[in-house]
Amino acid sequence: KTPKDVLVEVGEHGPNSLDPMAPAANELSQMVAWQIYDRLVTHGLKTLPDGKTVYDATKIKPELATSWNINADGTEMTFHLRKDATFHDGSPVTAEDVKWSFDRAVAAGGFPTVQMAAGSLTDPNMFTAVDKYTFKITLPKANKLTLPDLVVPVPNIVNKKLALEHATKDDPWALDWTRKNDAGGGPFEVTSWKPGNQIVFTRFDDWKSGDMPQMKRVVYREVGSAGTRRALLEKGDVDVSVGLPPKDYAEMAEAGKVKVIGTLMQNEMFYVDLNVTMKPFDNKKVRQALAYALPYDAIMSQALYNRAEPMYGADAAKGYAPKWPVASPYDTDLDKAKALLAEAGLSDGFKTDLYIDMSQTTVQEPMALLIKEQLAKLNIDVTIHKVPGSDWFAKMGSKSMPMDINYFYGWLDYPEYFYFWTYDGKNNAVFNTPNYNNPKLDALTEKARFLDGGPEYDKTISAMNAIVMEDVPRIPVAHLYSDIAMQPNVDGYVYWFHTNLDYRFITKH
């Protein structure tokens, strides 16, 4: 029903900023940045055996940079920029812009800086504009994550001149202006934005950094109710609907009227955290008991509608593959659970609290209820708390939840990246909700970071996996699909690590 060159997408939330660099910018600002900014490089695509198209993490492709050389010890990277590229306002893209953009990304603070640091990009002195079209990065030590880190929607190339016109003393990086305005040179321009309502992208016809997108216009609408988003799609009033409950994807996939594409997310896990510093979860036996108690199958079918792969019931004797995520050796076995609890002296059960994120209730609430029901059989009395989305990070950071349901995925597809964020006691990031601190694991993680593949690397990862499966500060449950539903005439969907739609490749027939 929608025009051929217009894509209409509906999602629950919209961006609160056009620039992910701005303070408190939400995740959808990265979606916007992906469309309106170019980066130096990007990934290539690959087609999976089942026909799905996904990005290829192993392949780096030119975007603004047509070519690049890296010196032998990997500490100097030189990028040669496209000479015909312009920003949306028509001004040419130069190495000065790139340098300024990188300076900005490492200096802005908050998430962008941390993300840059993952690629060892921490200091403006590392970046030099060699000449008008040559840009150089100097690293203290080679890092295999540096190049992939240039692909993520953080080191976006911003129109320096335009932005600086709006910079102030308090805001030297003009974040306040780029928050509300498009300063990019990417394939799409933001032509209208009503925060909380809709954002309209229009194709930038002078875009040079890739193949011209087919869509002339993309309208992203915020529709709060998932039911409505499903209805809109089924009625053909929108082209793409994202963020539906797994049940809807499962049913629509079954019905076949619309196209549902579910790709296993990379470097992702959906799990139940147990706070190892809080009683009784400071006792490994109790954690293992719970890992044996969870109603995995029910969760898979009734909360996740099988839009995920099970991450339980592996054969521990076989050892763990050197990858992430891997399945845990646990499976529902109440007898074992009871025995373990008895060993821990808790056969009479206990009371505990399970926290879930209110913005994730469609999946987490039924899951929590299933867990509550199941644990009641072990005399464990679970109280469910719904934490408002806004408070969720603070709550995680406070490490005060005895039990919570959570998930994490890494933009960079390396197991140690996941470990660094979620298990590392030294780093102890927000996502280490179990407050787990195991120096042995931390050392292995650090070691893996600077190994670039090879048997040693594989051994390290397998050892790390074994530790967390034995210790279970976190009970693996599932490996989720990144689901999306669209009209049958919409093609060109590509799964990206950031899980957002890439409008460049979308075609309609």
Binding site: G110, V223, T228, A231, P388
Partner: protein, 340 residues
Amino acid sequence: MPLLLTLLRRIGSAIPSVFGVILVTFVLARALPGDPAAYYAGASATPDSIAQIRSQLGLDQPLIVQFFGYLGQLAHGNLGQSTSSGQAVLSDLIERLPASIELTLTALMFALIVAIPLGIWAATRPGSWVDHLCRLLVTLGAAFPTFFTALTFVYIFYFQLDVAPEPLGRLSEIYYTMPPRVTGLLLIDTLLAGDPEAFRAAFAQLILPAISLGLFALAPIARVTRAAMLEALGSDYCRTARAMGLSRGRILFVIALRNAALPILNVLGMVFSFLLGANVLIEKVFAWPGIGAYAVNAVIASDYAAVQGFVLMMALLFIVLNLVVDLFASMADPRVRYDD
């Protein structure tokens, strides 16, 4: 000029409640769960960075200092910055207010157009089946949770019967061009722009949300209309009018209805308050880009500034509304003009 004086006095007497509203909102907003500092600090926060942001935002100061700071900001017309939309709260509200007003007014219109005749009809036949039926109907309308009605309507009229347009807010910008903003009310702006097609589309978008919202208002309006009409019709002056041989229509629609206007007007203020409250739910169902939906998100996201700004704007809106009601009331009834 008693009219003007009355208005001025009204405005004056509203000031304490505006202050009360500001205070209550401020306290309530601080009590919302969630730490804005942690929110700003984002996923990579450390206790230090959170503390730093907290002091940047002034959140480490005593509440009373924060409150006066807030008052000072208000005095400069600064309602702060919304965390969830990333915009200045004032511009968000101004952007979204017309949508809510248009929806609420249309709902009110619908309710008035249905409820007043029903109320009059019932009042002319008290105790008859008409009376009972009217009462049952409006009571039934008020018994449905608004979101239940709204969802049911969407399901039936959009999803099943396909007679209603998609519940995607106001005017679809994919097919229609937005008229230049004059009043912000699309029904008016489209006409001003001479775009009947867009008018039709904007109206079609309004029908379901307005009806599901308006159903709720039927009962109070019909009820006061009936009671006020019954009282007016049973009054001495209507008897006089009959004795003087005035026509039935004149007695019913001119004498009695005009006298009944005052209680009806007075209930409208309350109904409007109900409608704006229920708006919150309707806007969620219909993806209506109004301030109700904005408020829900703000409350759930602990978006202080947005919550405060929203409530303040509402309070001011009510004051204006009450003034309008007063104005109409004094037009409807000369006695009001002379009252204090």
